[in-house]
Symmetry: C2
Subunit: 349 residues, 2 copies
């Protein structure tokens, strides 16, 4: 028996990656004891525990993810589900950084699960759940009645949504207060004397479309301004489409003297359209736009902006998912980010 033991442990001592067996040999303990000592189980003596942890640190022991995952089902993976056609560029980049920031000192890895225009958005989620590929999921482009959220809720897999749902179901989310954004934008434009306002909306069908439209409508009647309907485009449309349709709009007899845009890229096209129609920003029309990086004021200093922080969104979403995985109540993991107000830049900036 002693001989056997030695043979086995010689193997274990080779310069391969250390495992529990390696640690067990080095400390003279059993594999079970080592395993429990590393997770601070109460039935292990204080000194043994310290000894094991010291040795583990010394030789750089790292639990084998596959072993853990096979045994426990725990993947230590968070998956971010992204649409490969319609996400905003800055959104992808910033939200990823926000998420990684939070999971950096956890054992979690971030995997990006894409889906394309042609696919059912439920597909990637179903894949993740069915294959048990992640402990938690983050989704964007949330809809009021979102089948993905419903599905994950049924299956009991922790997730968080960027944007709220409206199905009477409770789950973690992070959202930007787009109602407040639109309302503040309207008020600001009204303050500048603008009375005929148009809105370039988020994609119809997503939750924040409604929020934005409602904020717009409520503030319009509050300040007594009127809407110039502009339903032919949303920020999901191509730059070209937004540009030409904005130009068409601005050439009409009754054209808006104020435009509110829900995304920076769309704003570039809107401004181009305005100028195509021979009008001047700041004189003939004012534009308030959301932006996620501080670039629009370089584009046209007359632009009025409201900042939305996607990195913060990523962090909050990651925190929510981890919280749910950690056993917190889903209802306690919801957050709403308030717009910081409309910002104007002076020429001298």
């Amino acid at each position: 028996m002693d001989k056997e033991r030695k043979a086995k442990d010689d193997e274990a001592t080779a310069q391969e990656r250390p495992t529990l067996k390696t640690l067990a040999f080095m400390t003279g303990l059993g594999v079970t004891t080592v395993s429990r000592a590393l997770k601070d189980a109460p039935e292990i003596g204080a000194e043994t525990r310290r000894r094991v942890q010291l040795v583990a640190k010394q030789i750089g022991y790292r639990p084998n993810r596959a072993g853990v995952r096979l045994r426990t089902g725990k993947t230590n993976v968070i998956s971010l589900v992204l649409n490969t056609e319609h996400e905003l560029m800055s959104f992808v980049s910033d939200i990823i950084y926000g998420v990684t920031e939070v999971i950096a000192d956890t054992p979690y890895h971030l995997i990006v699960t894409p889906y394309s225009r042609s696919q059912d958005p439920l597909d990637p989620v179903r894949y993740l759940v069915e294959t048990g590929s992640a402990d938690g999921v983050i989704i964007s482009r949330t809809q009021p009645n979102d089948p993905r959220a419903r599905y994950m809720l049924e299956r009991g897999i922790p997730f968080a949504t960027h944007g709220r749902t409206d199905m009477g179901l409770v789950h973690p989310y992070h959202d930007f207060n787009n109602y407040a954004f639109a309302a503040e934008a309207v008020r600001h434009l009204a303050g500048l004397g603008r009375r005929r306002l148009a809105l370039v909306t988020p994609p119809v069908g997503l939750s924040y479309y409604r929020h934005t439209v409602n904020g717009f409508a409520d503030a319009l009647s509050e300040v007594g301004a009127s809407e110039v309907p502009f339903n032919t485009v949303s920020i999901d449309h191509s730059i070209e489409q937004i540009r030409t349709r904005t130009a068409q709009l601005m050439r009409r007899d009754i054209r808006p003297d104020g435009i509110i845009s829900s995304a920076a890229a769309a704003t570039l096209a809107i401004v181009a359209g305005i100028e195509d129609a021979g009008l001047k920003l700041g004189r003939d029309v004012d534009v308030v736009s959301k932006q996620s990086s501080e670039l629009l004021h370089l584009f046209r200093h007359e632009l009025l902006v409201v900042n939305e922080d996607f990195r913060l969104a990523g962090s909050e979403l990651a925190r929510s998912v981890l919280g749910w995985i950690g056993g917190a109540a889903p209802g306690s993991l919801q957050s709403l980010s308030e717009p910081k107000g409309v910002v104007a830049y002076r020429r001298s900036d």
Copy 2:
């Protein structure tokens, strides 16, 4: 024995995720046979093979990643290593989509491994290799003498770099021909009669810094134009810094009449700086800029652009890594993307 078998297989037939055991029971074969049948091993009868594969498809069998990984060490993971501070926004987004596009119909997952300013860029790579977390790695911000490439080459882990190295070591890469970009930009500006050119470089130390500078210098002497040194900024600097230093530069007696910019975000700042100095784009100075999304011409129609396709880069890099994993020679997995020429936009566009 028959009883035993039945008991075991009843378990296996429960509505849990199907495993090889489930398939073995359903087909009446052994687990080994099923395993081999699914991977088209030659020693399995043609009919058996078809039968197993049919049943597997029917019940939606998916191999358990943890099982495979534990047994074989194969992770089916590609890791994209990103700097969380200095990557271009569009780069992150597009390269991710490029990669996911290629791995979409493979068993591979994409994990994003971040590192920050304060960290040694080797850290994340070392982590990946030591923990065996990925079958292949993609890195960006490649340096002529890149410790990460050297390290991975030593350890024998497949990888691809965005940008070339210059260490006499051969490995897969994808690169944009920044030498050609800079040279074409110089020639184009010279063609417009511009004779005093400045260059806003990539980050000093990265491989494409040298390529760009060389292309710039060679073309300068070719066309007989001169350089106005502008070494105080690179595209890694903040928008503010680039803007103010450009303004300073443009207020000097000997100021450039042509500027070449290696990134779109920097270009916004450059133009702002030019205008801060009271000069007009297209009249006093022309600017040629790289861009990765078609937005700069909306910003100022006078801007001259060269397009770099990061989504393509992502796809190529993914293909390279998969190729290397699949046994192809690293030297055969290198690609260089040529600039498509300087593009000008007419006002009417």
